[in-house]
Every structure is written in C-alpha cells, then in structure tokens.
C-alpha cells in the first residue's frame, strides 16, 4: 500500500523554507496554530459549562499549572522527553510511507530493556557508560522487535498497519512477562524491575527538575528532521514513501530501506522508553503502559512530519496533559476531561490546516 498523503505535505513543507519569507511563514504558522487552539478551547469550554464548571477558571489552571508556574513548566518540559523520541521515530516511518503504529510496544520493550540493564551495568562501569550501554541495549531490543513487521513488509508485502498493531498487543504482554518473570526485583513484593537510584539517572538540567532527556530528545528530533530533509538517505526514504514503484525504477533497494526504516523508527521508540526510565521513572512496573504513542501520532501528522513543528505540538500536548490534570482536580472534573480537550484541539487544528491550505491555494491561483 502506498498512502501518499504524507509525502504530499512533506514535499510542500520542504519548499516552504526560503530566506526572508521564512519569518513571515513562521508567524503565519504560529497564528494558524494559536487561533484554532483558542477555538478548541471555546468548544471544550462549552462542555465544561454544561457540567457546571467555570471554563475560565479551568483554563486559568491549565495555563498556570502547565506553563506559567516554574513548577508547571518544568514538569511540562520533562514530560516532553520521551514524546520527542517517539515523534522522531514516527517522522522517519511516516515520511517513508510506513505506518508504524507499534510505537507503544517498542517503547515498552525499550523501557524494560533499559530498566533491566542500567541498574546492573552501573555496578561495573562508570555511570555515563552504563547509561549509554543501556540506551544502546534498549534501542537494539526495540529494533529486533520491529524485525517481524519489517521483514513481512519488505519481503512478503504484508501491510505494516496490521503487523505493528499486533506486535504492540504482543509487546505489551511480553513487557509484562519480562517484568514479572525475568527482571523482577526480588526485593519488592510489587512486581517491578530493580530501581535505578535517582543519583544515577540522567542528570537534571541546572537547578530544576527537568530531565536532560529533554535535551537529548530535542537534539534527536532535529537531527532526524535534518537527515530526512537534507540528506541522500532521507530522500531515498521519502522516495520509497511517496512512490515505491519509482523507488524500484530509480534503483533503490526498497527492501533494505524498508528494514532500515523500521529499525530506526522502532529504535527511536525504544530510546523513548529508555529515556523515560533512565531519566525519570527509574524502573518499570508490571502493567505499566503510558500509551504515549496514540497521542503523538496525530501530533506528528499535524506537524506535517516537520521536526520543528513536532516539537511545538509535543509541547502543546504536554502542557495540556500536565495542566489539565491539575485543573481537573482543582475544579472537581474527572481527569478524563483532558482526553476530550486534547481530542478537540487535534480536530480543530486539523481543520484549520485544511482551511489554511485552501486559502493559500485560492490566493495563489
């Protein structure tokens, strides 16, 4: 299957960056992002009113607790770290036209691998090396996990949406089995892996609680963006994504590229898990599954697979989830409302993008 909505936008996004026009374009983007968010907030506000909650108070808390208080912004930035890695992985896959919907399984297995290895390694080697090795192990485990969908897609043409979805169901179970039966910390009654002590985790930034995973995530997603848009390798992947037959015609090794895409995408998802564990969580508990993947997918699409824009959307998601929880508690709305809010924001943003696109087209004509 070749769904080529993705590359459509990628090709046009590629065009959009040129010199002086860039600043105006960015301003325009910003406006086209904030405007819809405002509209979404109004719609969601009506729901709040309907259940008898003051929307202004609610949003006030969201902003304060998610963005403007020193504590809030730190939490928001910390939350971004794993999401950025996931987004980077999705950018690679989607630009190459492969629907890796198995991010959650890859994430969890990466997390388990990191949680299992880091506390052990740290006893034998310098801290930084141990963490580095744990990252590598997590990446490799996630890559191996993606091998089944990758091989099936590359050599049998089996659609990867099905296989990655299935592998995510399986991966979630396997992660549990590993935590409960293989890597279980014998010192606790609760099934979880050994805990990496706080002082051995990724350092925090300066005097804050922000994990340095954030910096790694930012660097990673920017590198991924540049590789996908500025290098021969990235272009090859995009050709495979946009028109696989053209890729064959142009002499590209589509099977090898397909496997590479899965490996990179899954590896980054695994890294996301590792960064969350080594940066923040310290261990993996049985039945733990934050299911970040599901919310990151739309964010990556809205960003048109552009790494920089993805950073913005991941930031937005983090603000909403951190601030939303706080606001819900303070006003006695169930936390589930955050889901509704995120959903409305996503839909209105998608609509706005469409309207914007239409407007541009009619203006150009």
């Amino acid at each position: 299957m070749s769904i080529d909505t993705a590359p459509t936008v990628s090709a046009t996004a590629l065009d959009a960056t040129s010199g002086a026009a860039t600043r105006r374009a960015i301003l325009h983007r910003l406006l086209m992002t904030l405007g819809p968010i405002l509209i979404a907030l109004i719609i969601a506000g009506c729901i709040l009113l309907a259940v008898g909650v003051d929307p202004l108070a609610y949003y006030g808390y969201v902003l304060e607790k998610g963005l403007f208080s020193p504590l809030g912004i730190q939490q928001t930035l910390s939350r971004m770290a794993p999401l950025l890695f996931l987004a980077a992985g999705l950018i690679v896959a989607f630009r190459a036209g492969m629907w890796n919907l198995g991010g959650d399984g890859q994430f969890l297995l990466g997390a388990v691998a990191a949680a299992a290895s880091a506390p052990v390694l740290i006893q034998f080697m310098p801290g930084w090396l141990a963490l580095f090795c744990a990252f590598i192990i997590a990446t490799i485990v996630a890559m191996i996990w993606s091998l089944v969908p990758a091989l099936l897609r590359a050599y049998q043409g089996v659609n990867e949406i099905v296989t990655t979805l299935m592998m995510t169901f399986l991966g979630t179970s396997l992660a549990n089995v590993l935590v409960k039966l293989v890597f279980r910390d014998p010192g606790t009654t609760v099934p979880q892996t050994r805990t990496l002590p706080v002082e051995d985790r990724l350092p925090r930034l300066f005097d804050t609680t922000i994990t340095s995973g954030l910096v790694l995530g930012l660097i990673t997603i920017i590198i991924v963006h540049l590789v996908m848009t500025r290098t021969a390798f990235g272009l090859k992947l995009r050709i495979v994504g946009a028109n696989p037959r053209a890729a064959v015609h142009a002499g590209l090794n589509v099977s090898a590229l397909t496997i590479a895409v899965f490996a990179i995408s899954a590896g980054l998802a695994g890294l996301a898990g590792a960064v969350d564990i080594i940066g923040v969580q310290g261990n993996v508990r049985a039945d733990w599954n934050p299911a970040y993947g599901l919310a990151v997918i739309p964010a990556v699409f809205l960003a048109r697979m552009n790494g920089f824009a993805a950073i913005g959307f991941v930031f937005l998601l983090s603000v909403l989830s951190i601030g939303g929880e706080s606001a819900a508690r303070r006003l006695g709305v169930p936390n589930h409302f955050t889901l509704v809010l995120i959903s409305i924001v996503l839909i209105v943003l998608a609509l706005a993008e469409y309207v914007d696109h239409r407007y541009n087209q009619s203006r150009k004509a």
Partner: protein
C-alpha cells in the same frame, strides 16, 4: 486572431463555451476561450503540451468548473457540476489518463454507474457490447481483469464505455496515442460514422495527420489561449500539406512542410566494426498473473545504432525493457553491456555501468509526483556528487543544474519547486528525457518516448535520440508508432507474444515488411 470576435453561439451547437477561463495555482490553464461544438462534426483540438486541452474537456465532463465565462448546452447556460451531470447531458469522455478500475473486470468496469441496489446486468451488457465491438472492429474479453490488459486494450475499453452511454457528444482525449496504425484508422472511421449519425465528437491529438484526416473543424490552443480555428469550409478547400503548414504556423509561428516526414540519417558508419554495446542472448522472462512472458529474445546493438522494437502494445515490450533495466526477474539468457554481463546486477548497478531506461509510465514509476521538479531530475542519482556531498544535499548545485536542464530540455513549469505531478504529460516526459540522457550513458532504452508529446516536443525528442546515437551510444527504441520507428531506426525488430518474430533493416520496403510481421505474416 480567430473568429472569437463574433459570438460563436449558434443554434446548431450542442455545447458552446463562452469566454471560459480556468486557473490553477501559478498558471492560467484556459484563458478566455470560445468554442462551439456541433453535431455532425469532429472538432479537433490541437495544442502543445500544457496548452490546456485536457483542462478544457475537464470542464465539459464535469471534473472542473470554469472560473469565468459560461458553458451553454443546447443554447442554455448550464453548470456541469459533476461527471454524473455531464453523462446525463449526453457528454461522454475518454480521458487522457486511464479511468478504469484495475481490480475489476472489463464487464464490471463497463457496468459501473448503474443503480446501486441492482445486480449487475452482465448478459444485457454482453449483447450490447457485441453489437458495438463488431461495428468497431475490436474484440474484448469481458471477463478479463483490467489490470491484465495492455494500455492499448484499456483505451479500447474506455472508448467502448463512452459508446455504451449513448452520448450525444463524445470526447476523445489523445485516444489514439496507444493504438496501432490500423486501430487509429478504425477509430477514425468510427468517428466519421458517428458524426454521420449526428453525434458531435471532440478529438484531441498531437498528430497533425490524424487531425487533418478525421477532423471537420480544428481549433488550436496555445498557452491556454485559443489562437486559431480552421472551420470546415476552409478545411475542405485546402490540401493536407497546406493545412498542416497552417496549423504549424498557428502553433509554433514557423512555416514548414510536413515536419514529421524526416528520414533517418545513417550514422552507424562512423562506428563500423565496433563491437556491440548491448548484447542480448536467449533472454527469457516468466509469465506472471498480469503480464506476458518473454522467450528466447536475442539481439545486438552496436554503438551509434538505433534498434526499433515494433509491435502491438502489450506483446511484451514493457517486460523486455524492464528485464533489461533490472526491474523484472530474468528466467534465463544473458545480457551484456559493453562486454559486462549484467543479468544478475541490480537496477542501480546496471545504471552505473551505463544502462539507461526511459520508462513509459511517467507518473506511475518515472517520477514522484509530489516532489519538486528539481528533485525529480536527480531521482536516479540520489547521493551522487556533486549534488550530494557526504550524503548531504547540495541545494545550490541541484537547483543550478535543474535550472540548466529545464532550460535545455524546455521544461515548462511555474517553478522548479512545483510538484512534478502538476505538469502536463509532455513536460513530465521532458524531465525524464533530461534525466536519462544527462551523463554517463552507454546504452539507452526508450519506451514510447514521444507518447503524449506535442509535435514540437516530439520532434525535439526524436532529435535528441538521434543525437544520442550519433554520440556513439546504443539505442533501443520501443514504440507503437510505426512512423516514428521508420523515421529513426537503423533496424526494426517486431515483437509478438513475447518473442521477436523478425528483424528488418530500415530500407525502402521496411514499412511493408514490418507491417507483414506485425499481422503475423512472414516478412
């Protein structure tokens, strides 16, 4: 310039266009066009690639709405809002690009459009099809999957479909491009019969001879504007050569006799004695679900030589080209390029050695439609210096070279950043030509290189192919256009059912010999 000053509305018109304008991002595809379409007339639309012909009929068939101006049907201003609406008005169209569902059978494709709750009425259809095909002189297997048909056969299905609709106005957008000379003549005769019955026909072609032979009225478009019209009276009063001269004048502003009637120069002499650059021996390809196989194909091409492959479309031409280029698995036999055996090499490796393949499927595999024109020039060189250094894209180099190629090959595009898929077919083809001929080539396979090109581009492309050979390259030219082969090749081989049935030197009586081979007689 033409009769656009006086209002063209005429009581006899089925469809009239009044000052119709259609814009696309960055381009005015149709600019203030007046046109009248009358029953009993074959109205030929001529124009370069991208002149706006397909856009014009897009508006007639309900795919697009005019930005300005209006369309009158039977004298009444009418908005043709959808293809369904157009069909209801009696306007049937055979589109330039294939409009069949590949996974459905011929019959199912023909039945598409019936009331949703019904069971498809296959028997009824078979009877009607039999009626029409016999008068058309074609045979079609209704139960065949469309994906198994050759492009030519698919075009026949589309013509048949338009006929089944009992249209009052039949539009044929480059419908002869995939037909054999015989097929073209038959279609021409059919058009004559239809207008004889009082239908109107709009016929788009790039072949001036067809225009003159079948047309009653000729309109010429250029850069979206209508630059002239030759009414029936005048058409009848002039001889073929005079008309062609007039059309060429309208289209290109130059005067000349029949521009297609060039004979091939012989430049093999300068490479006499050189070893063959391309050698193919006993090449075989297995048959697949939807493509014929190849069996024991052997031929040589020396430097400077152009070998033509003639044959009715769908007889293995594409498989041959793909097997040579490395896109299709070979079941047996060997291929040498410049004495290197290549049959086990990958597509990329064969290209390294100097083999070039210009595909006939520009949109499907030749280009990435959503990518900018500039990148499409380098699709087969991704990673190569100087456009990439250490794997990093050199935008400056790419843009500069792309601009140069666009100029050299006269690619008309709003900008180098325009997605290539938005260009007209002819301009896309120029991008492909530029890409394949650029540098390092030894052997070039051209598969239908001028399909869909306008006259000027056709001539330019042919000249490029001749120049290619003159530089000492070996050229394999696959075409369904016999005239083209005769005007270019040194030798012509005929392919039928996946085998080469004979090779003819392109001398005086080549036309008859090739013709005999094609219809299954000995040369």
């Amino acid at each position: 310039m033409s009769g656009s000053a006086s209002s063209p509305v005429d009581k006899r018109d089925i469809v009239t266009l009044e000052s119709v304008t259609k814009r696309f991002p960055g381009i005015v595809a149709n600019d203030d066009i007046d046109l009248s379409i009358r029953p009993g007339e074959v109205h030929v639309l001529l124009g370069e690639n991208g002149a706006g012909k397909s856009t014009l009929i897009g508006m007639l068939s309900g795919l697009q709405q005019p930005d300005e101006g209006r369309i009158l049907v039977d004298g009444k201003p009418t908005q043709i809002t959808s293809p369904r609406n157009a069909l209801a008005l009696g306007i049937g169209t055979v589109f330039q690009h294939m409009m069949l569902v590949p996974t459905l059978t011929v019959a199912e494709n023909l039945l598409l459009g019936g009331p949703w709750w019904q069971t498809p009425k296959t028997e009824e259809l078979a009877a009607r099809v039999a009626e029409i095909t016999s008068s058309l002189g074609i045979t079609l297997k209704l139960s065949a999957k469309v994906s198994e048909l050759s492009l030519g056969e698919q075009q026949q299905v589309e013509i048949l479909r338009a006929m089944l609709r009992n249209s009052r106005l039949l539009i044929l957008d480059e419908s002869t491009s995939m037909l054999t000379p015989k097929g073209i003549d038959e279609l021409g005769a059919l058009m004559r019969r239809l207008v004889g019955q009082g239908l109107a026909v709009v016929f788009i072609t790039h072949k001036l001879k067809e225009a003159v032979a079948f047309g009653d009225r000729i309109s010429v478009l250029k850069l979206g504007k209508k630059v002239g019209e030759i009414p029936p009276e005048r058409l009848r009063s002039l001889g073929e050569q005079e008309i062609i001269a007039e059309i060429v004048e309208l289209m290109f502003g130059t005067q000349g006799a029949d521009p297609e009637a060039a004979t091939h120069p012989d430049h093999t002499a300068s490479f006499a004695g050189a070893a063959p650059l391309l050698q193919v021996k006993d090449l075989a390809v297995a048959q697949t679900e939807n493509a014929p196989g190849l069996s024991s194909i052997s031929f040589d091409i020396r430097p400077g030589e152009i070998l033509g492959i003639a044959g009715i479309d769908g007889n293995g031409q594409k498989q041959l080209a793909e097997a040579l280029a490395g896109q299709r698995a070979v079941a047996g036999g060997s291929i040498w390029v410049d004495r290197t055996a290549i049959e086990t090499l990958s597509v990329g490796a064969r290209r390294e050695i100097g083999l070039r393949y210009l595909t006939d499927d520009r949109l499907g595999e030749g280009t990435v439609g959503t990518f900018p024109v500039s990148i499409n020039f380098f699709l087969k060189q991704v990673g190569a210096a100087p456009f990439w250094r250490n794997g990093v894209e050199q935008r400056g180099e790419i843009d500069a070279r792309a601009a140069q190629l666009a100029r050299e090959y006269d690619v008309r595009t709003p900008s180098l950043k325009t997605p290539v898929g938005r260009l007209s077919g002819g301009n896309i083809q120029k991008v492909l030509l530029a890409r394949e001929l650029a540098e390092g080539a030894k052997v070039v396979i051209f598969n239908k290189p001028t399909y869909g090109l306008d006259l000027a581009n056709t001539l330019a492309s042919r000249q490029r192919i001749r120049d290619t050979a003159a530089r000492g390259l070996a050229v394999l030219l696959i075409s369904t256009d016999l005239e083209e082969l005769l005007s270019m090749c040194d030798r012509i081989a005929v392919i039928a059912d996946g085998a080469l049935v004979g090779t003819v030197d392109n001398v005086d009586d080549a036309r008859t010999k090739v013709g005999r081979l094609m219809i299954g007689l000995a040369a």
